[in-house]
Symmetry: C2
Subunit: 401 residues, 2 copies
């Protein structure tokens, strides 16, 4: 973990400051002894690094209360309570969730705007998002604006030019959402966008319970369905950022029409609309409508339970294809698929066992997200923090602090 001794002293210091801050961010609180051990540096070097980060207003040292009382209490390095924050925005078809997030992942302020119908117009969403950035920034209790803004999009991102390539369920094609949002913000902050499932798996891999898992898939089910993939410990984005779009793998070419223009896509079998239609409730998807189906299924309503089980069976088969293709150690089911697994895990596992090759099918684990419904939101916070975390000294240079 040490910087190469051949690097210039200033570069070493910057690199090590970034490492320390990243450890604090990912763990939330660490003693100097823990940090010294992790970075394999001397205690005096670590002392200087922590002092630097304190001076930059990024971390502070606290003495935990309730210690054993024996010996000198161990100081703990934690994110500074008046430190920088980012704004994370999770845009989905049915709602927009916005949060001000501090280093370490603390949620300083959070707001949810539910769509009465379905929100789709990119300009309207950009205006709403800009207002929400200001609102959660004000509610955060932190001085100044965010140091970064991260936006989760239910669609594919053209990574080279940071545009939304296609978000079928929003009916967006080649939308310059970063520009639309930047134009409506009162002050400058770098904006980064990402695919919702990619961001969700990033958050879980960096800060969730599965941070030791190097081969995992986050299957995010909302109105649309997509997969975020970590392979060999690294995000798999594909050649130009479109990997993980398994929601548009065709299950049956004669199946139901999909927003992408094709028929019988996987998300017409395991998306929220599919659940509602199978439950005999062909209404616009919403959290309330989905929750009602789950509540009825838990009460034993035949039609609701049959719908849940049918989706679970299709889901298990879809996971089997992912398992055959990617051989992940862990598949995390997020969005409404998490609660679906809470009701119909046996049906999912039965289909997975029937359709996956034996070896990878037997070893893969299914799991709920550590961050529940907020995985994509926290992933948006991660990419918004990326610049600060990769170079705390450079990112804070010239900042009014």
């Amino acid at each position: 973990m040490r910087a190469s001794p051949a690097a210039r002293p200033d570069a070493i210091r910057r690199h090590n400051l970034a490492l320390v801050l990243d450890h604090i961010h990912r763990d939330g609180a660490l003693t100097r002894a823990q940090l010294t051990q992790r970075l394999e540096v001397s205690r005096s070097t670590m002392g200087a690094l922590v002092a630097d980060l304190i001076e930059l207003g990024l971390v502070e040292e606290v003495v935990p209360t309730g210690g054993s009382g024996v010996g000198r209490p161990s100081h703990v390095v934690v994110p500074h309570k008046a430190g920088p924050y980012v704004v994370a925005i999770d845009i989905d078809v049915t709602q927009v969730v916005t949060a001000a997030v501090g280093i370490g992942g603390s949620v300083l302020a959070r707001t949810v705007v539910r769509a009465s119908g379905e929100i789709t117009d990119p300009v309207k969403i950009a205006k709403l998002a800009a207002d929400l950035v200001v609102q959660v920034g004000g509610d955060s209790g932190r001085p100044g604006g965010p140091v970064g803004i991260g936006v989760s999009i239910p669609g594919t991102i053209d990574r080279a030019n940071q545009r939304v390539a296609v978000a079928p369920n929003l009916e967006w094609r080649d939308v310059a959402f970063v520009d639309l949002l930047a134009d409506r913000l009162p002050s400058f902050a770098k904006i980064v966008i990402g695919n919702d499932a990619d961001l969700a798996v990033l958050a879980e891999h960096r800060r969730g319970a599965s941070r030791q898992v190097d081969d995992m898939v986050f299957l995010l089910g909302r109105v649309g369905v997509g997969a975020g993939i970590i392979a060999g410990g690294r995000p798999l984005h594909g050649w130009d950022g479109h990997a993980g779009e398994i929601g548009h793998n065709v299950v049956d070419p004669d199946g139901p029409p999909c927003h992408c223009g094709k028929r019988g896509c996987l998300e017409t079998y395991i998306g929220e609309r599919a659940l509602l239609i199978l439950a005999g409730r062909p209404q616009p998807p919403s959290d309330a409508a989905t929750a009602a189906v789950f509540a009825d299924a838990r009460r034993g309503d035949d039609e609701a339970l049959a719908a849940v089980r049918k989706v679970a069976d299709s889901l298990g088969r879809a996971i089997a294809d992912l398992v055959n293709t990617l051989n992940p150690q862990l598949v995390m089911l997020g969005g409404f698929l998490s609660e679906l697994m809470g009701i119909a895990r046996p049906e999912i596992e039965s289909a997975l066992a029937r359709f996956a090759l034996q070896a990878p099918g037997q070893t893969v684990q299914l799991a709920h997200p550590s961050f529940g419904a907020d995985a994509a939101l926290f992933g948006a916070a991660e990419v918004a923090f990326a610049e600060l975390l990769s170079d705390p000294l450079g990112a804070t240079a010239g900042a009014a602090r």
Copy 2:
């Protein structure tokens, strides 16, 4: 590319020797000037490194004939003509191909044993393979035995213990093929086994035309079908080595029975047996039988052409799923699928366009393997050479040379 200056001098030298040898191996021939530029070292350092490799008997310097005659001719560093070799063995259901391969990929000797029926017994195959190792070693014209043996297997490999987990079309389950082979060899050489598609994509990525392509899939179609994946420039093996088994993704649960025990697996639609059955020739698969279908299709035979087109359509749909999931820049079609593309590329591309999401579907390129039918064989040579290439000094220490 330079070793860290902080490393011990001996470690630097070993590391740089490995780098130089790897460049020679991958390119076949490079001038000292090219090597000096690639490694970013001084000319004198490169001179010493090349001298070391010459002394180890791994490379030699030659003066190319047919130069312009102006100025001093530029010496070219090439693999030593009496240097070490490996034996690569490509085991498939219909045949066993064995080759002695030198540094740089030169084939020194090669033999093909076709199965009269289908070869399946692992002990018989191990005995055959051991005999072939001796045979091609003798035919190679090189002194001594191979420095490594690489074996391509049409099945999944348990990477932790180097056993064949399952090779459905050979009907192998948990076979310790490395031990079976080692017990029958006259002298010691390290044996490494790998999945055929994994090895094929490795060969193409390391030494083929697509060495600059960091996101690619090699779809290998023989009796079985599997995918070798390079993602972000690195092989994707999955958690315990079973990634890429897309041949057992279920297309239709009511489809034809598969050797894996399930029904309707992809390889029952795009494998060699599928082609023969569709062409009305339900015989044991063999290169000759497949070649006859292709010859008839090229002549315009209706049934053969319809079979080829039907497989092409299913293949295009399968590629679409891979494209949606992995967003590769390139999909290489190997085995009999390469010739299939030669006849029915429009059908493959049409299905791909219909079934893939627009953005990744439009950008992906389809290609024939650089190494033709020998991609998996050359991949087996790569893994057999891995130890020598990663540490030429250590691997040759104590060798009788």
